[in-house]
Amino acid sequence: MKMFLSGNEAVARGAWEAGVNVVSAYPGTPSTEILENLGKYKEIYAELATNEKVGLEVAAGASFAGARALTCMKHVGLNVAADPLFSMAYIGARGGFVVVSADDPGMHSSQNEQDNRYYAKMAKIPCLEPSDSQECLEMAKLAFDLSEKFDTPVLLRLTTRISHSKGVVETGERKEHKPTGYVKDVAKNITIPAHARKMHVKVEERLKKLAEYGESFSYNKIEPGDQKLGIITSGISYQYAKDIFPTASYLKLALTFPLPGKKISEFINSADEIYVIEENDTFLEEQIKALGYKVSGKCAYEKEITGKTKIPIVGELDPTVLAKAFGLQKESPYKPLELPARPPVLCPGCPHRGVFYALNKLKLTVTGDIGCYTLGMMDPLNAMDTVVCMGGSVTAAMGLEKALGPEMAQKTVAVIGDSTFFHSGITGLVDMVYNNSKGTAIILDNRITAMTGHQENPGTGKTLQGQDAPIIELEPLVRSCGVKHVQLIDPLDLKQTEAAIKEAINNPGVSVIIAKSPCILIEKKFKPALKVDEDKCIGCKICLKLGCPAISFDKVKKKSKIDPIFCIGCEVCASLCPKQAMGHK
């Protein structure tokens, strides 16, 4: 059957067709839809993991049972899951074990643009890179076979434009895989030094076999063309290159680690000039240049190999960037206009707004975290000072206090979302209590993992499939970590929010505020839009400090106005207005 699928949907479909049994993953753009789509197949056990490390470990456990297992994550998720990945690289895979990493060149929704192909090289496991949705499906299937054939985890590496582009895909049917069962094998499965030393020998042997396999691997494909220009490329870069250099010869690599050295050398020798076209880092280029192969007496290295001397390392590659890099982009006949930027903003009625308004008003230092609420750093809320990584808010606040003393703690607050707190905030909080810190953490409990498109989490009482699950309540959890001073507040109540923050920062020990109010996009309990009574409005602009997309200022009338299409009637602005000018009249 032909379907129009995104890369993520196609990976899910491919894994399903391959008979995958167990899937565990934490959401993260641009990977999220892989898990969401796998959750729709009733033949698969699929779950939302608390974080990427947990997801990878659950999948590893399933592989021990001889089941086919998959975990997926965004690029930085693999930093969290790196520890078990490296051990599993030694242990191998009894049941096919696939790790999907969706990298984000251009940082559309991420904090960095790391190239996770290096993880494959460092962990010494194979890396597969599909170049469109059809290949996503085929390589997801193939990854399980490779994993079992070579007794290794397989890294299936996607990028934003693979994950979130759609293409026509020919689908197949599911081939059931019955878990082969658990067999005790301590020499294989326990990574004590004595075992691991032997495992490392096997890992090196495995790499050699994989490199040999890559020489005849059908997806490492030579597409003959004009011999003047040979292009070595992989993934989405292949598609861009085909548009800009349609007549060139191509070596399109799919198994990008380990590389097929002989095939590459032969290709290099068959063309007059070689371009290596890849996005971000020099992963292929440096390995190719390091080959230095001699084929029929001629050293490939002597040939000009052009890559990152022309193509930028920074930022997303696209056909325009590629054409510009080689001086092939014509200047646009249209002159650009000066425009105000349109960055994303917290939604109208977002419960985080009240907390950030209060933090800004109190002029506190705010260590932030990863989620929609990172937008609290935007003007006019301006209520964030640092963002490092998932869970990094609580610990950064603690470090500030340890460096500058308890006075700093009185001016500092950590903010962290509910899902992020479950992900990796708990350990930081335990550290804070254990090491006698003074500090305040606000858990922005909006009852959902919002940023990635509303996934359930351990606090919501629902599974990936929407079935009932035990609720991990935040308050007893926080108290059991040893936090004595815990306050529960409604962040839409500005007075209560401000009072709670003041109380917390003046408390001598560790304080936690749980600001509980559901994401406005899940409950959708919209009330009628408010209106500004122009007779009452004095144009003081206090309401504009909320940064609500529904509120703007009429410069002619010198009055605030509310857009009835955007306003959802949360009334936070009304509670702030000194003249009670906002109402339902």
Partner: protein, 191 residues
């Protein structure tokens, strides 16, 4: 046939992504290869949103190269200007008559370029200004703006109107099929 490139732009929440899906699926239903690309995540929170749709005999890159868009279908006046460099020489603009105020303008730090459509007109000849909201409301719901705009686009492309209607009927809520048909026709009759 040369690959047809359509860039759709607007603001998160306006229905840009669904419109892109419908264009690509209509092209596929008409026997073409098609690709489509967009970005999810943070951009959806009221930010500037863009979707690339390409169809033809065989499509490579899912992204349109600057200077190669045959049509820019813009859901918001100012956003048109942000992506103007994508339009090919002699390409066509369809602009929805709507302004969505960004935060920097709402807080008074920046000005909305009120004459933006006039300034675009000085540079581009082939422009269709479409009163999307007005036509959508006449068809029965303000939410059908994207279907109105698809109607306006359909007139510029060589895909059979019946295929468009078939895909739209499949992709919109069952109760709104008739309303969306009307909205499509009202857009199609714009010139």
């Amino acid at each position: 046939m040369k690959t047809v490139n359509i860039l759709i732009c607007g603001v998160g929440g306006q229905g840009v992504l669904l419109a892109g899906d419908i264009i690509a699926e209509t092209a596929i239903a008409s026997g073409f290869d098609a690709k489509k690309s967009e970005v999810h995540g943070m951009a959806q929170r009221g930010g500037s949103v863009v979707s690339h749709v390409r169809f033809g005999q065989k499509v490579n890159s899912p992204l349109i190269r600057q200077g190669e868009a045959d049509v820019i279908l813009s859901f918001e006046e100012m956003e048109t200007a942000r992506y103007l460099q994508f339009l090919k020489a002699g390409g066509c603009l369809i602009i929805n008559r709507q302004q969505v105020i960004p935060m920097s303008v709402a807080t008074g730090q920046a000005e909305y370029p009120v004459d933006v459509v006039e300034r675009i007109k000085q540079q581009v000849k082939d422009i269709l200004l479409c009163p999307g909201m007005e036509l959508a409301e006449k068809s029965g719901s303000a939410k059908a703006v994207n279907t109105v705009l698809l109607g306006a686009l359909a007139r510029k492309l060589e895909l059979a109107p019946g295929k468009w209607q078939e895909v739209i009927s499949r992709r919109v809520p069952a109760k709104t099929v008739e309303l969306n048909k009307k909205a499509f026709e009202s857009g199609y009759s714009q010139q």
